[in-house]
């Protein structure tokens, strides 16, 4: 269960994932739930955002296999130094990320969820399968 204290001041959630198909599906879902969302495609991008003066993220939903100069665990450790007030949720795979997003959505700014997080998982599975077929994998 994701335990968070959601702020009501418009601060954002950062979705850090190096697979665009996963990142977009999760971020889009959270936006539909009413959250402002920032997307980071790598460890470096997440740190660049975190180091910015205008940083206003309260929660980071991060893929454990994030690519770049560090993975999700390294990002969590760096954020603990840079922004100790930020909650970091590490997801081991996209199912876990979508489920975490679903729990966030339950407590989100919008009363009703746009759709169940299982829909997000299905969308990611289908998109990734199509990409694999297209790329001959």
């Amino acid at each position: 269960m994701v335990e968070t204290d959601r702020p009501d001041d418009g601060r954002s959630i950062m979705v850090a994932d190096s697979d665009v198909l996963v990142r977009h599906a999760i971020a889009d879902y959270l936006r539909h739930c009413g959250y402002p969302v920032v997307e980071a495609a790598s460890f470096e991008e997440a740190i660049e955002v975190a180091e910015a003066a205008e940083f206003n993220t309260w929660l980071v939903l991060c893929d454990a296999q994030l690519r770049g100069g560090g993975n999700g665990f390294a990002l969590r450790a760096r954020l603990a130094e840079l922004r100790p007030e930020v909650t970091v949720i590490l997801a081991g795979n996209f199912d876990a990320a979508a489920k975490a997003a679903g729990e966030l959505c339950e407590d989100g700014p919008h009363v009703a969820r746009p759709y169940d997080s299982s829909v997000v998982i299905d969308r990611i599975r289908r998109a990734r399968a199509a990409r694999q077929r297209d790329q001959g994998g």
Binding site: D19, V20, L21, R23, H24, A27, D28, H32, V38, E39, A40, A41, S42, E45, E48, V49, A52, R126, A127, R128, A130, R131, D134, Q135
Partner: protein, 151 residues
């Protein structure tokens, strides 16, 4: 139109596109930009105007989106990006694999002849108005309204 001198079509003016219409207008804009703060700002401008946006951090991510079967209304791409494929390579690929899909180049250094790559180009720095105007011109004024209603 304010700032119109930085918006170019094949013949030096903003162009309309064959896919413009309600169908294309309800689809997301595929925004490709490796500088995260520029990407965030551009995406926010487009979302504020009512468009859905898919954010890609490089050309390979954009190709992944297109390979996944995701339909988009338009590709708006930076030119200079790290990786095996830059923005011009991406634009040329889109021209080949998705004929009719509008492409807009977003760069400080736009080629003199954009016709092999794109329908329009914006020279950096550009304003939110210029970006949303060129997108609207290519996928139809109805786009923002349809996406806003859907969103």
């Amino acid at each position: 139109m304010p700032g119109a001198d930085s918006i170019m079509g094949k013949n030096g003016s903003v162009v309309s596109c064959a896919v413009a219409g309600a169908d294309a207008a309800s689809l997301p804009v595929l925004l490709v930009e490796d500088e995260i703060f520029i990407r965030i700002a551009n995406a926010e401008w487009l979302r504020d105007a009512g468009y859905a946006v898919i954010e890609a951090a490089n050309a390979q991510e954009a190709l992944d989106v297109l390979a996944s079967g995701g339909r988009v209304a338009l590709v708006a791409t930076d030119i200079t990006m790290p990786g095996q494929v830059d923005g011009l390579g991406l634009a040329a690929s889109v021209r080949s694999t998705h004929p009719g899909l509008p492409v807009v180049l977003l760069s400080a250094h736009v080629p003199d002849d954009i016709a092999p790559y794109a329908d329009a180009a914006l020279r950096k720095p550009y304003s939110p108005y210029e970006l949303t105007a060129v997108v609207a011109s290519l996928i139809g004024e109805a786009g923002a309204k349809v996406a806003e209603q859907a969103g």
